[in-house]
Symmetry: C3
Subunit: 207 residues, 3 copies
């Protein structure tokens, strides 16, 4: 049940991020809808394809498609307010990746995969939607912005398994802590321009 809520919130976050990017590119409403659809379902579709989960999560669950359509319409109507919050793209994108990372890990665990592979699938499913959105809209993929992005997912995913080892029977708490951890790391990284210690400065000095 919590997994469903996590996935739905992840979809809504990615829809909003997709609408914001698509509107920056002045797409028409149906173009916006398609970007919103692909951004929000891309990661989960990749995850289900990799895991061999049949059917793909949105194929038989029309509530996903309706959630996407309604969120898109509402986001277009409220576009002026989204515009004001120009920082909010990062926020929604971050919430989306945090939720999707953990949903991906949970679904991979359900397929009895090794923790390191669960984390890999969690990260792939979290980043894939945003990568497609950015490629289609010809932006520099957000995953390559200097701010700690992949790192947040990897830390959050690792924390999930650390917590699972410590408190094996309290799954919901583990989910919530891991999700918040990813969001907080990423938001702090963006706000304070935290970066991973550069491996390139050294190279510069020495060569």
């Amino acid at each position: 049940m919590l997994l469903n809520i996590i996935e739905t919130l992840g979809i809504i976050s990615f829809v909003i991020s997709g609408v914001m990017v698509a509107m920056q590119k002045k797409l028409d409403p149906f173009g916006i809808l398609i970007i919103a659809f692909v951004t929000s379902t891309g990661g989960g579709t990749l995850r289900d394809l990799l895991l061999g989960v049949r059917p793909i999560f949105w194929l038989i669950d029309t509530s996903v498609v309706y959630t996407i359509i309604i969120t898109t319409v509402v986001a277009i109507i409220l576009r002026r307010y989204l515009k004001v919050l120009s920082k909010s793209l990062v926020l929604f994108d971050t919430i989306g990746i945090a939720l999707y990372t953990i949903a991906g890990i949970e679904k991979s665990l359900a397929a009895s995969l090794n923790p390191i592979i669960c984390v890999a699938i969690g990260i792939l499913s979290a980043c894939f939607g945003g990568v497609i959105r950015d490629i289609l809209c010809r932006r520099i993929p957000v995953i390559f912005k200097k701010e700690i992005y992949a790192t947040a997912c990897i830390i959050g995913g690792s924390a999930y398994f650390g917590l699972l080892y410590l408190i094996p029977n309290r799954n919901n708490i583990i989910n919530i802590i891991s999700i918040l951890l990813i969001i907080i790391i990423r938001i702090l990284a963006v706000r304070y321009k935290l970066q991973f210690p550069s491996i390139y400065a050294k190279a510069k000095t020495s060569s």
Copy 2:
């Protein structure tokens, strides 16, 4: 049977569009062949992966591969004539998406999916080949050109289900009408530069 013809014509249309784009980028013949292959099979491959159809349509049907190779060779030989018809890229691309939209809807219906999801799969499978072609060849994805593109697919797909409700037993006629509808809407939109009423002008005035 009609579905096979539709799919074959869709493949030929996409091959020609792929050859034209690849030749604009001065690829060598094998590079052109690969772009033609990916453009024409990309959408159907995504569709079959999403629907869990096994095997993917071109894996066991060598006629698809031979159709692609022969069409590519003929298109390269007749390149001078294609060049004259520089507008024809839009035409072949349009025929391809129209045919693929309806083929995708039919295959989704065969998998007993909800109409709204059938339309989503129809559109994804119609647009995916062209999107890959444009990304690989570093063009602005045609799906983002101002002219009504996604809109044509959505209207055609919706018309399909409207007609199915009105004349449930005359499938071939429904197919043909829906395909022509998509082609006509898109061609008129390109010719008369029809655009969806902008949602951005208003935003400009008010902010």
Copy 3:
């Protein structure tokens, strides 16, 4: 067994090529790891998805993930030496595609597919990782550099089936010859700037 060695060497080659491209783009270590992961598993993942092989090769085999992580760490540590060998990106990319082309053909043959379709899958799986790497890092896809690239794969793949016809029971020798053939053709093409006889010069003269 040889197929496993081929696949592992292909993964290592693609990891190194991914690390080199990601470092040119100044990604942080986790960003580099993700590019290395996607570059090295992309083609094989596509191949397994297309063939319907379950599970995807890296899902249950943690040695793949460890190989990728260790190779990435070593490549980052030895980055100064990789930098000196700036031509080596082409070399590792070439070894990767050669190995992956033949691995793709072997796996497709195991699925009883037609030779021409085996070659198609071999080429797709060989090129896909590099294409993703280049798209994510916003480089011109190496597949479109003038040097004979797709051509090398097609010749090597065809040679595989020619040899299989001549010496049906000596699979390992056939593998090795085909792999070396692809590598040699590509290296010679890059070194001596061999190109496919242009189909465009003629078009220029005549139009």
